[in-house]
Structure formats: structure tokens, C-alpha cells
């Protein structure tokens, strides 16, 4: 008995040492844009959208697990593999679109930082440059290990949403009921919201980032099962937090019929309904998520582009050893932060461009991934099984259709 406990304890410790890439990638999914979407979903539709998080978890696990597996088996990043198997042209254009998509995403993260600064009554002209400097310093001066630790702490701060969920005193019975009883309402607003919630779950940068960070962490094949656990746990954690965001807004705003358009509105509306603590926790969650994502998105871009173009890559290298890597990272942060500080900058078109580029790139990335993961020469006996392939193809088709549909509706609006 004692031996068995010790064995589990040992396995748990190994898992802790492997954990990271999956957890971090999943959590960045709850970025400024994600929090806005979930807040609006909760405020407008109450608990009725909670069921959709269950298929989201499955989709996230299926897609991210393939990246993780490719990283462990081949020891190469996704951009590396695309370059080696599909040639330089494809890689170049994919990277160009990825840079744009991530740049606009980064801008919206800095917008999130500015919004939460205002919630705390701090001038955005202090907060935005300060945070930009912090995230830049973190990567340029850090090593992969130290950076990962900071990121994992940031993941921990998402607990603030769970606490604020409890503070808002929701009707738990109703929550439980609606999470297992899918309702499909056929009014336009509901369907649009549903597409928004699912469509924001899987973005192209996530696959590149996940694979690159598993490679950088040098996880061995024999420890792969822990890496898989990392992906699964990450997917659950991120969606539980998303559910809590929906719950907070449903229990307070929806019940009182308050309509909001942004996460900032939601936080402000929470103040009189759920109290100061709930408000501060909500605002802090937004700030944490925005800073965290403002760090990861430029990092993911730098990784992917340098991999694909064959330039030196890695947080563990110095500025002089990997100039393109750090130049790209710096440029993304500077542009992102500077644009937000411009007076009269409009956020809606930025979000639109980000979504459009994501929607264009996602189908290609997912199809490349499917081809690569089934390539025997690269993966040996670790290719997808038939059943896994059926699920993967299904997921990918749904994700592609959703992202295209989302794109079309945005432009029709």
C-alpha cells in the first residue's frame, strides 16, 4: 500500500515537471477577447450556453494533443515541419498571415490592459507602457524555465474568476441542469453567440505555440503520457474558468436584465450587484489575462516565424544569438502597445481583421497538421489511429465551418 502511494506520488511529481505547455496554451485562450465573449454570453443568455463548453473541451484536447505528440516524436516545431514537408512558399505565406493575425490579437490584448487599468482608476498611459516593458523584459532576460514558471503563476491567478463566481451567489441547481441539457434555440442572436463562443476556442497561434514550447521543454517520449495529461487538464481548467465567467454574468447581469458589450462594461455593472470584491476580482482577472496573452502571442509569433524561415530561435538564447527572434518579439509588443495609446483608435475593425486572418489561416493549419501527424516517415508508429482520425476530421471540419461562418456574419453585419 505504502509503495503504491509512493508510486503515485512519484508519478504526480513527474507530471508537475512536465506540465506547462498545455496548461499555458489553453489558459491564454481566456484572453481579453475570450473574457468579453463569455461575459456577453452570460449577460445576454444566462446559463443556457454552458453546455457548449463540453464539446469545446473535446475539440481542444483532440487538436492540441496532436501538436503535443508531434513535438515529442519529431522534436520539431509545427512551422519547422510545414517548411520541411510543404516547402518554403507555403510556409512564407502562412507565416505572413499568422504575423498579421497575431499582431491584431496582441493589440486587442493591450486594449484589455488599458480597459482594466481604467477599472482600477489608473491612467492607461502609465499602465500600457509599463506592462509592455514588463512582458518584453520577461522574455528577453529570462530562460525557458523561469518564463514558464511566471506563466504558470499567471494561470493560477485565473482562480479569481472562480472566487468571483461564488461571490455572485448563482443558483447552482440551475447551473448543473443547463450544463448537461443542451438547448438549441434558433434565434439569430443565440446562434451567433454560440458560434462566437466555440469559434474563439481554437486559434492558429495555439498549435504553433503548443508545439514549440513542448519542443523547447525537451520532453521525452517515455514521458509523453504526462504531456497528454497536461493538454487534457489544461483544456478542463480553461473551460471551467470560462464557465465561471459565464456564471458570474448570468447570476447578476442576466437576472437583472443588464446588457453589456465589453468585459469592462460587465465589470462595472457587477459593482452594484455583487459587491466591490467581486468587481475587483473580475477586473484583476481581466488584467492578468491580458498581460499574460500580450506576452504569449508575440512569443508564439516569433517562435513560428523563426522556425519556418530557419533563423535561430528560443528564449534560452541571447539577443545577439537570435536577433530575428527578439526583433520580431519586440516589434509586436511595441506596435501593439503604441496603437492602443493613440487617441481615437477604433477597436472593432482591429477585432474584425484579427478574426478574418484567423479564419483564413485556421483551415490550412489544421489540414497541414492532419497530414503531418499521419505521415509515417515522421511519426513512425505514433500516427493517428483510425478512430482518432475520424474524430479529428470531424472536429476540424466543424471548426473550419464555424470560423468561416463567423467570418461571414461579421462582414455582413
Amino acid at each position: 500500500m505504502k509503495i503504491r502511494i509512493r508510486k503515485y506520488w512519484r508519478e504526480f511529481l513527474i507530471f508537475l515537471s512536465i506540465m506547462g505547455p498545455g496548461m499555458i496554451t489553453a489558459n491564454v485562450d481566456n484572453d481579453a477577447g475570450g473574457i468579453t465573449t463569455y461575459s456577453v454570453a452570460g449577460a445576454h443568455f444566462g446559463y443556457s450556453l454552458i453546455w457548449s463548453f463540453i464539446p469545446i473541451i473535446i475539440a481542444l484536447v483532440i487538436i492540441q494533443e496532436m501538436c503535443s505528440r508531434m513535438a515529442v516524436v519529431t522534436g520539431k516545431g509545427l512551422a519547422d515541419l510545414i517548411r520541411e514537408e510543404f516547402g518554403v512558399k507555403v510556409t512564407f505565406y502562412a507565416m505572413t498571415v499568422l504575423v498579421f493575425s497575431n499582431l491584431f490579437n496582441t493589440i486587442s490584448e493591450f486594449a484589455g490592459i488599458a480597459a482594466s487599468a481604467e477599472l482600477f482608476g489608473i491612467s492607461k498611459y502609465i499602465m500600457v507602457p509599463g506592462c509592455a516593458l514588463f512582458v518584453w523584459w520577461l522574455i528577453v532576460k529570462g530562460t525557458y524555465k523561469s518564463v514558464e514558471k511566471v506563466f504558470l503563476v499567471a494561470c493560477l491567478f485565473y482562480v479569481s474568476y472562480i472566487v468571483s463566481g461564488f461571490l455572485s451567489k448563482p443558483n447552482w441547481q440551475e447551473v448543473a441542469h443547463s450544463s448537461v441539457n443542451p438547448v438549441l434555440r434558433f434565434d439569430k442572436a443565440y446562434l451567433l453567440m454560440l458560434m462566437g463562443v466555440i469559434g474563439t476556442t481554437i486559434a492558429p497561434w495555439m498549435q504553433f505555440y503548443q508545439q514549440a514550447s513542448v519542443v523547447e521543454k525537451e520532453i521525452k517520449l517515455k514521458n509523453y503520457k504526462y504531456s497528454k495529461m497536461d493538454v487534457i487538464v489544461g483544456a478542463f481548467v480553461v473551460n471551467i474558468i470560462a464557465i465561471f465567467i459565464v456564471i458570474v454574468c448570468a447570476a447578476t447581469l442576466f437576472k437583472n436584465g443588464i446588457r453589456v458589450e465589453t468585459a469592462k462594461d460587465a465589470a462595472l455593472a457587477l459593482k452594484p450587484l455583487a459587491g466591490d470584491y467581486c468587481f475587483y476580482l473580475f477586473a484583476f482577472g481581466l488584467l492578468n489575462a491580458s498581460i499574460f496573452s500580450a506576452c504569449i502571442l508575440p512569443l508564439s509569433t516569433a517562435y513560428s516565424v523563426c522556425e519556418g524561415m530557419g533563423w535561430e530561435v528560443g528564449v534560452n538564447r541571447r539577443f545577439r544569438e537570435a536577433p530575428q527572434f527578439y526583433a520580431l518579439y519586440t516589434a509586436m509588443i511595441v506596435i501593439g502597445a503604441a496603437l492602443i495609446l493613440l487617441p481615437n483608435v477604433k477597436l472593432v475593425p482591429i477585432m474584425l481583421i484579427s478574426q478574418a486572418t484567423n479564419g483564413i489561416l485556421l483551415p490550412f493549419v489544421l489540414v497541414f497538421m492532419l497530414l503531418l501527424v499521419n505521415n509515417k516517415r515522421l511519426m513512425g508508429k505514433y500516427t493517428n489511429s483510425l478512430i482518432y482520425n475520424i474524430f479529428a476530421v470531424l472536429t476540424i471540419v466543424v471548426m473550419i465551418l464555424l470560423s468561416i461562418a463567423l467570418l461571414l456574419t461579421q462582414f455582413i453585419h
Binding site: 520541411e84 512564407f92 525537451e218 517520449l221
Partner: protein, 449 residues
Amino acid sequence: MNNLAKPGPLQDNAKHMFVYFSELMDRPVFDKNGQLIGELYDIAVKPTEVYPQSALLVVRKGFINRKYGVINWLDIQEMKEKVVRLKIDKAKITFREKHNNKEELTLRRDILDQQVVDTFNHKVIRVNDIHLLEVDHSLMIAHVDISMRGLIRRLGFEKAVDFLMKIFFRNADYLKTEHLISWKHIQPLSINPVSMTIKVNFPSKQLNSIPAADLGEIFLDLSMQHQLILFKSLDLNTRARIFMNIDFKAQESLVEELEQGEVVEILMHLPTDEATDFLEKLPRDITERFLGLMESKQSKKLSQLLGYSSDSAGGLMTTEYLAFTKDTTVGSVLSQIKERVFKVEPAQFVYIVDEEHHLVGSTNFRRLILANPADPIQSAAFPKTYSVHLDSSVKEIAYLMEKYKYYVIPVIDEKNVLHGIVTVDDVLSQVISIAWRRLKKIKVQQPKI
């Protein structure tokens, strides 16, 4: 150092012509009757010579239902005006779903866009283009291109970018220098799917000439799969050299992938201090398993060394040193030094012992060469030899070495019996790690490659 290739003997003759592989790729291929067969997809070369020569042409046809045909290089009539003409008839070519010529190196699958080792600049690089030389109707790999310009050429923007650069930056490096690296410095890393090995470039033996520390660093730049396969393709000496120069984490993951017998072989080839360094970090049961598999003499030596604390003289020392009894003549010492094979270059010190292996004195190569060959070795000894005890601390050793300007110091026990030597590099690495712990921020000056 720069990336510019030295003009090889091949470049001297002006009538030879260079062509980039990216310019040949996807050219239409016609048979002898002028009928379109498909497009040029890949070229296979014979990797036997320093500059491999083209042997086969791979033609691709169809778009959705892609098929590949392999054509002997001798059946090519000409490659001019952006088309390839063959001597043979279309019907003679058999097309298959796949082209798997495992023996040859093929340009598109194995080299273009792949990572290779540049043994001249000691780096892992990605190939943007391949520079080919036309000699008597066949092509030879002359250089690989790793430049930005190569990348732009592949994207099809070379003319446009060149034009813009000529207008705005007439003197840019971009236009003037060609970042070509001669093939003789390139070690491809493509894996043979059958034997799971990498064909090491034997004609040039470049990998063996790289300093061990650099080789270790190149090695760490590769993916685990490539690390393992490259490692297995190398000879035992090079393996041991690499093993000494990678960190413990990388050593550990290598050992996990290798057979036990292979690990033991490497351990036997390592200097004893490096072997103990590695073994003492492993879990006890694994260390014992390896020791059990080794030759008894070696394993006895190692387990003895493992008994000492790692920051004492006993833990740091190596048992490979030169020692002779005091009556040996200088001439016979010199001839024995010439005959012995060493795992590492020994420090140029020779120790003098009596019959019970008590340390009597020391001398160095210079003194031995200058001495009369007929005299006993004792006559060439230094007037005094300082030594440390088995349990002396790193600080004591460092202090003594600095004081007497030694770069090797002998280690003795309480009865004055010689057990081994500690070299300055082992002391330095310990002292540096102590210093690191104290002042966490030392700016390490990186030599620019």
C-alpha cells in the same frame, strides 16, 4: 569568420556553369518525341564523393493523383531554355505512387529546406537553396545557400527585390556577397528509413575535426531523433567526445535511448573523471548496473572513485596519468610515452614513484627531452613536488595550484601513495560553479563565431 565559401578547385574553370536547384525545380520534362511527361520534381545524387554527382531524375505528373517516375541521368538529352528533354520514349518510363530510392541522397527530400550541419562554422543551418555545377552533362552539388536572397529566390521575388535594392541601397551586402557554403563542409542529416542511420560524410571526415566542445553544442541544436541517429552513426571516439561535452540532462536522455552495451562502451572510452562525473549523478541502482557490465579492472577503478565526495580531490581526480619508477631511464620513458594511446591528451607531466607507488617526484616533457637519455628519470625531476590529499577540498586545490602555478596536481593518500591527478579544467569548472552560486550574474563573454 564569415559564411563565404572559399572558391574550390571546381570554380576555376570559367566554362563550367552554375545553376540553382530552385531554378530547375518544376521545369517541364519532354520525351524524345517532344511529348510532355511531367515536371522535374527531384534529383538523386550518388553520395560517394566529396561533391556528389547527379544519378537519377525524378519526374512528377498529375495533380490530384500524383505519380512519380525515375529516369536515369544518362537518358537526359539536354536541360536548356527552361525545359528538360529526354533521349527516351514516354512509354519506357514507369510511374509509381511513391519514389523511395533509399540508397541515394535526394535534393528535394533530404537537403532542400532541411537542417544540415555546417562543419566549417560549427552550426546547424537550414538550407534555402542548392547551388549546382554543370560538368559534362551532369550536375554536382557545389554549395548550399543559406542567405536571405536564397529565401527570396525561392519565393520568386528575386528580380523585384534585387531591383528595389539596386535603387535604394546600391552598396548593400545583400547584392554583393553570396552566402554559399561549400558542400565539402556540409553534413546532411537525412535519415535512411531502413537502417535508421545518417550517412556520415566520410570522404571529408569533417565531423571528426570539429573541436569537442563545439560538437557538443551542435549536437544539442538537433532534435532528439536526430541526436540519437547521428550519435549512432559516429565512431566510438567521436561519441565519447560528444558525450563529454553535453550537459547531464542530454546525457541522461541519450543513455535512455541507447542499449546498455553501447553505454558501457562509451563509459569505457571516457576519461575516468568524466565517467565518474556522469555516474555519480545517476540513481544508485543504475550506476551499479553499469559498473557490473564493465570490465572488472575499469569498474573497480570507477567504483573506488565514486566513493569520494565529488568536490574533494578524490572525486575530481582522473586515474590516467604517466608514472614511472625512479630507476627508469629517460630514454625508455620517452619511448613509452610515444607508444601509449591516450583517451585524452595527457597533461605534460610525468610522475616518479617507488616500488610501492609512493610519490617521489615529478617532471615534465620539456625536462625529459633536454635530459640525457641514459640517465635515470630522477635526474630530470623538479626540485620539489607539491601534492594534495584525497580529501582535500576544491578550495585547497585551487589555492595550491594558483600558488605554485600548476595546471596539474598529484593526489596522494596519507601514506604518500599516488592515486591520481587533478587537472586545472576540473578545478575551474568547480570554482566557476561556486562563483556562480555566489554572484548569480556574471556576464559570460561569448566568443563570436
